[in-house]
């Protein structure tokens, strides 16, 4: 899967799981998700579960940081790293 494909899948997953009234294609790779989509702790939990289920990765406790969830770029880099 290419980097762009991965980012697109993450965007689609976020829009679906958070019931966002947004087009995945309009989400920029480097925009701040928490500020622009009012993502709170409930949403973050959904994103974690979504990433684990969709990409077969597992978050470790020490991985959690606000920066990780800040942008699509950061999430995609994390998924890539976990998938080795």
């Amino acid at each position: 899967m290419s980097d762009d494909q991965l980012k697109q899948e993450i965007k689609e997953m976020i829009v679906e799981r958070l019931f966002l009234d947004a087009d995945p294609n309009d989400i920029k790779d480097d925009e701040n998700l928490m500020e622009n989509y009012e993502i709170d702790s409930v949403n973050l939990f959904e994103i974690v579960v979504g990433l684990e289920e969709q990409f077969g990765i597992s978050f470790e406790d020490e991985d959690f940081s606000v920066d990780l969830f800040a942008t699509i770029n950061n999430l995609a880099a994390y998924v890539e790293q976990k998938r080795g």
Binding site: R17, S41, V42, F45, V48, V49, F59, D61, F64, V66
Partner: protein, 270 residues
Amino acid sequence: MSGGEERLVTFESGGEPLHGVLHVPAAPSGNALVFCHPFAEEKKCAHRTMVEAARACAEAGWAVLTFDHRGCGDSPGAFGAHDLADWREDIVAAVECAARETSARVGLLGLRLGASLAAQVAEERADLACLVLWEPIIDGERYIKQNLRRSMIKAMMTRHEGGEDSEGAAAAAGALGDGTVDFDGYRVPEVMREQMEQIDLTDPPPSFGGRTLVLNIGASDSVAEPMQQLADAYAAGTAAAVRQEPIWQRIGVIDADPIISATVDWLRQQ
């Protein structure tokens, strides 16, 4: 409420008086449901939907008894003083109360942990009219892990926003001392945590033979594999998916009509 009646009821379980509300239909179908509520913060978030569901079922002719377990809501006792065995006893007592008050055949409707407890009670009560499981906890170990993770994320966000989270850090580690764990501010005693961890609704396979609906609630229109497997494990099980924001995760106005409609439609076919 159209023509029916809602009245407070009190019934005893384990020597304690439990608080409930009985929704009596104007045109009874001869069936009743006991609504088994979810756990801790999820109960608080889902309360409005539970009441709306009870009213909708009553309009469809099903009497519904909603109640609070020992140590929860308006029923007496401290939250941590009871365990899942006590709460299964409460459900049995509620079934008997509903049967006594309505002379109807009683089934169980449960949400999340309440659905899991309902499923466990149904294994001992073949006489139940039916079983409706809203997003049941199938794997208790995963449920615990996810709740601890939720606490950790909340603590992380609190720190990010400049707040204090003295218990959050401990919650992130999973323990608050004495084997208790933090479920969004509810201290879960060790014995209850262990009972939750042991929940596995598919092993051994369920033996309840009555009509069973497993309702998968979430972002997808299709039934998730574990929910389908659970439904398939029942002799008369059906699974359905409802695309709906999880009603147990957030306090606020959520239109739960998709869940309620799916349930009422299914009940009308019974």
